[in-house]
């Protein structure tokens, strides 16, 4: 009875969070959080299931291979969500001085308090892991294509394997964060850990949120990009360990299915997929053992660290007095005489710096926005840093995403700053402002924005300057830094243009509801990132065409690669030409035109838009009767009409070979830049 009461007490304490209103009804909060987890994971599972359920028939080899991507996404998501939960509950994961004050005076043995505390932590982890993984696990029943003859036992095996593996991955993520926290505390001691705890939490938050946002776009091609290549990266990526575990547990269910006749245009892909998938079996077993060992090691280390830190109830750790030194006095003098000369401006300036650096809620808001900004930068850049083809001194040769990244990061950081400003520093202390407020918001606000600019914008631009100086050269980096300064000033003014509340003081959500904005924003962010990733291509697309065509978004280059692949196919026997001479002649002509086409593409955006629809059709409606070669000639007699195959290929490629809608704008911008380059080249002439 006593244990149950204590566990319930500790469980409710998890809801006393900085991001949750203290006036909120705990049951409402619990429902909202649970609903959010179920909705997001259900949405993800639905998106993953869609191509299997509603798409064309996918043969077993392709399903097995594309499932690797899905398993990677699910295990990564479970791991990241659980790690984020642990980071969010950072200080509540262990006993603290409040527990000492409340429970230390009661006649309860220390062992009982410690036991119940960690039982509550375990219940939290299990609860969240189950809520997050429940819907995707049940969706596993329907993610197997309906036309594959998987038995009921097979379906149950797949579902159980999914549940076990995603829960194990989640446990690994949670225990890793808990282990890191408790391990650090055990190593450096409670007093020192308190000093580094906030920074560690913020760093983890940035890393995990960034990883979460990048995940939807990074999970494709797991077999080719990670597993098949081997090396340290493939072995060191924890989600892959659990992918290996899943394949070891249930990979054979689909892989051992009998191969029946797939559509002609899948034949080669199916054979390649089967070969690749089966060649990775030793790797799956190896990774599975790594997963089990890693989970065991993390569990043991975390338990040991927790036990060590719980030898006695924690006592309050008083932060060391931070008396101003010479530098502090000089800083205050500079602020008082140069930066913020009026009292109200100084009040806003210093209070903002103090709140941003010392309050958890504000740090969480800033860390999240920084993570979003970094993710946007990485997604936009898509690995486009300066390469051999770029001239460090010439701004026109710099990829647009590299230049746009700074603006994205600044916008994200400043949005986070605005969000942080809206959160009361300490609600109960807001009477300070009620009584002392002089009614003049403008100078105070000016101090607040100035502090945000100095504390957030300058370090961000400074970090980017170092990076830009490395890849672009000092002159260009300095120019870019200047542009960033101007842009940030503009953004700051825009964001706070209609802001008429006292920063860090008001308003507070007056109702008993959960603060809606954070949860809603997070949900929207996940939805949007998934939607964008979805636009990029379904697993079916990735296998049937993506691997053939590459990941390139440039229509002309995609076009070229299609031709290259077809030519390669002609040469290496993947595709047999019935009237090879005419086909090769035609393709050879096209290949010869590629260079010209690539050079001209930037100047003809309109034409290209039109070609987006027409080119694949034109290309494949030529009288080149083709038929696919077969993986197993016995199963696939050559009985079909070649022209029908050709038509199918044309239709399939037409569906897939086109730039994403969001890239049309980017392409037009790039075209303008190329246009400028051409004009520049022509000027001397």
């Amino acid at each position: 009875m006593r244990d149950r009461l204590l566990i319930r007490h500790f469980l409710w304490r998890f809801l006393e969070h900085d991001l949750i209103s203290p006036n909120a009804d705990r049951h409402v909060v619990l429902s909202a959080l649970g609903g959010t987890l179920v909705a997001v994971s259900g949405f993800m599972a639905f998106l993953i299931a869609t191509p299997y359920v509603f798409g064309n028939l996918m043969p077993p080899g392709m399903v097995s291979l594309s499932s690797l991507d899905d398993r990677f996404l699910f295990t990564s998501a479970s791991m990241l969500v659980m790690a984020l939960v642990a980071v969010a509950q950072w200080d509540a994961l262990a006993l603290d001085a409040r527990d000492t004050g409340a429970l230390g005076v009661l006649p309860i043995p220390l062992a009982v308090i410690v036991r119940t505390k960690f039982a509550a932590v375990a219940l939290l982890a299990i609860g969240v892991a189950v809520v997050w993984n429940l819907t995707p696990t049940f969706f596993r029943f329907v993610t197997v294509p309906a036309k594959l003859p998987v038995s009921l036992v097979g379906l149950v095996t797949l579902t159980l394997a999914h549940g076990v593996v995603t829960l194990a991955a989640g446990a690994f993520g949670f225990l890793s964060v808990l282990g890191l926290r408790e391990g650090m505390s055990a190593i450096v001691g409670p007093a020192r850990f308190r000093r580094i705890s906030a920074a560690l939490q913020a760093a983890l938050l940035v890393a995990l949120v960034t990883a979460s946002l990048l995940l939807p776009g990074a999970h494709a091609g797991v077999a080719r990009n990670w597993l098949a290549q081997g090396g340290l990266a493939a072995s060191a990526l924890p989600p892959l360990w659990f992918v290996g575990l899943h394949e070891t547990l249930a990979g054979s269910v689909i892989d051992t299915l009998p191969r029946t006749s797939p559509p002609r245009y899948y034949v080669v892909a199916e054979r390649d997929a089967t070969d690749l998938y089966r060649s990775l079996w030793p790797r799956y077993h190896e990774l599975a053992w790594v997963a089990i060992a890693a989970l065991a090691i993390v569990g043991v280390v975390t338990t040991a660290a927790c036990m060590w830190n719980s030898r006695r109830l924690p006592v309050p750790v008083v932060r060391r007095a931070h008396k101003d030194g010479a530098a502090g006095r000089a800083w205050k003098w500079i602020v008082g005489h140069v930066v913020a000369r009026t009292s109200l401006r100084q009040a806003g300036f210093f209070f903002t710096l103090q709140t941003l650096s010392r309050q958890v809620s504000q740090r969480v808001a800033l860390a999240s926005s920084l993570a979003v900004g970094l993710s946007l930068m990485l997604i936009t850049a898509r690995g486009q840093v300066l390469g051999p083809g770029h001239n460090a001194g010439d701004v026109t040769s710099v990829p647009l995403p590299l230049l746009a990244g700074q603006s994205l990061l600044l916008a994200s950081v400043l949005s986070g700053f605005r969000r942080a400003v809206r959160i009361p520093a300490e609600l109960r202390a807001s009477t300070t402002f009620s009584l002392a407020w002089a009614g003049n918001l403008t100078p105070y606000m000016s101090g607040v924005t100035l502090a945000g600019w100095i504390a957030l914008v300058l370090p961000t631009l400074g970090g980017l300057f170092i990076w830009h100086a490395t890849v672009l050269g000092t002159r260009l980096a300095a120019f870019h830094f200047g542009v960033g300064l101007a842009l940030s000033a503009l953004l700051m003014e825009t964001l706070f243009l209609r802001y008429r509340r006292v920063p860090f003081v008001s308003p507070y959500i007056p109702s008993s509801e959960l603060r809606p904005h954070g949860v809603a924003s997070a949900a929207v962010l996940v939805f949007v990132s998934f939607a964008l990733a979805w636009l990029r291509g379904s697993p079916q697309l990735q296998i049937s065409c993506g691997q053939r065509l590459g990941e390139d978004d440039d229509l002309s280059r995609v076009h070229a690669e299609v031709l290259d692949d077809v030519v390669d196919g002609l040469k290496h026997g993947h595709v047999v030409s019935l009237n090879g001479t005419r086909g090769e002649q035609r393709l050879g002509t096209e290949l010869a035109k590629h260079g010209v086409g690539l050079r001209e593409r930037g100047l003809q955006p309109r034409e290209k838009l039109a070609r987006r629809e027409l080119m694949p059709l034109v290309e494949f409606l030529l009288t080149v009767p083709l038929h696919g070669s077969v993986a197993d000639a016995a199963n696939y007699p050559l009985a079909h009409i070649a022209a029908q195959v050709q038509q199918q290929v044309a239709d399939a490629v037409r569906r897939f070979v086109r730039p994403r809608p969001d890239l049309l704008v980017a392409e037009m911008l790039e075209a303008l830049r190329y246009f400028r380059q051409v004009i520049r080249q022509e000027e001397p002439a």
Partner: protein, 257 residues
């Protein structure tokens, strides 16, 4: 010049916490505000400072309704609330600097005042520590300093002696008298009747949201034929015999069956 509560009423969800409270605190006067727990003292104090809207009635300062220009009133008000709610992540110096800057005090004067007051209240050694690590008495001292920084004309002190040590309590008593002599209007709510008796010129006693007495200590003693303010207070607001109640409590505590 003074602060006047005129027929103040405050209802929460239809229940009147303060029914009809009227009294005046004149300049140069320390008025004691007494009442048992839950009688409406703190609610009245919050209405007097403009932090809580009245359900009926008005608060006048220098004859003007404070609701007409609350900012102007707050410029001349010093308030020590019942609970010392401070920004716990700040040090005492940082908190007082924030208050002073919000009140637009000149920087040099602010620095001088903060240093001197922290020294006089015995907080200098802990001035750079986080307020979160302070005891209740230390927090209370910070609140008192914050209320005095701008040399207010009217002071509302809602149990400022809560958590203060004996020495600080004695200093506070003398401080109230000194401030009144300098023309400040002081409303002092407390449960320490001895302190109120010695520091206050006049006493207002509130019970169940109504003023049950408003006079000088001497007049009340004469009127009630009692020798001390404690006896007067007991007769006015206590309905049960304290000795009897204490014995009943002890009986309940000793019950093991």
């Amino acid at each position: 010049m003074g602060l006047e509560a005129r027929h103040l009423v405050k209802r929460f969800f239809g229940t009147a916490v303060v029914s009809d409270v009227s009294f005046e605190v004149r300049a140069g006067e320390v008025v004691g505000y007494l009442g048992p727990n839950g009688s409406g003292k703190s609610t009245t104090a919050k209405m007097l400072t403009g932090l809580l809207e009245t359900s009926a009635g008005a608060v006048l300062f220098d004859g003007q309704d404070i609701a007409l220009d609350p900012v102007a009133f707050h410029r001349r008000l010093g308030y020590v609330p019942e609970e010392p709610n401070l920004y716990t992540f700040q040090s005492a110096i940082e908190y007082l600097e924030l208050v002073g800057r919000l009140r637009e005090l000149p920087p040099a004067l602010l620095t001088r005042k903060i240093g001197a007051l922290l020294e006089l209240f015995g907080l200098s050694p802990a001035a750079n520590q986080d307020i979160g690590s302070y005891s209740k008495g230390m927090k209370q001292k910070v609140m008192i300093i914050a209320a005095l920084l701008h040399d207010p004309d009217v002071l509302v002190l809602d149990e400022p002696d809560s958590g203060l040590d004996v020495a600080a309590t004695l200093v506070l008593r003398q401080l109230l008298i000194a401030l009144a002599r300098r023309g400040k209007a002081v409303l002092y709510s407390s449960h320490i009747l001895e302190l109120v008796e010695k520091a206050c010129d006049r006493v207002v006693v509130i019970h169940r949201g109504n003023v049950v007495a408003d006079d000088t200590v001497e007049a009340l003693q004469r009127l009630m034929s009692r020798g001390s303010l404690e006896e007067v207070f007991s007769q006015l607001v206590l309905r049960a015999d304290p000795e009897r109640t204490a014995a009943d409590i002890a009986d309940v505590v000793a019950d093991h069956a």
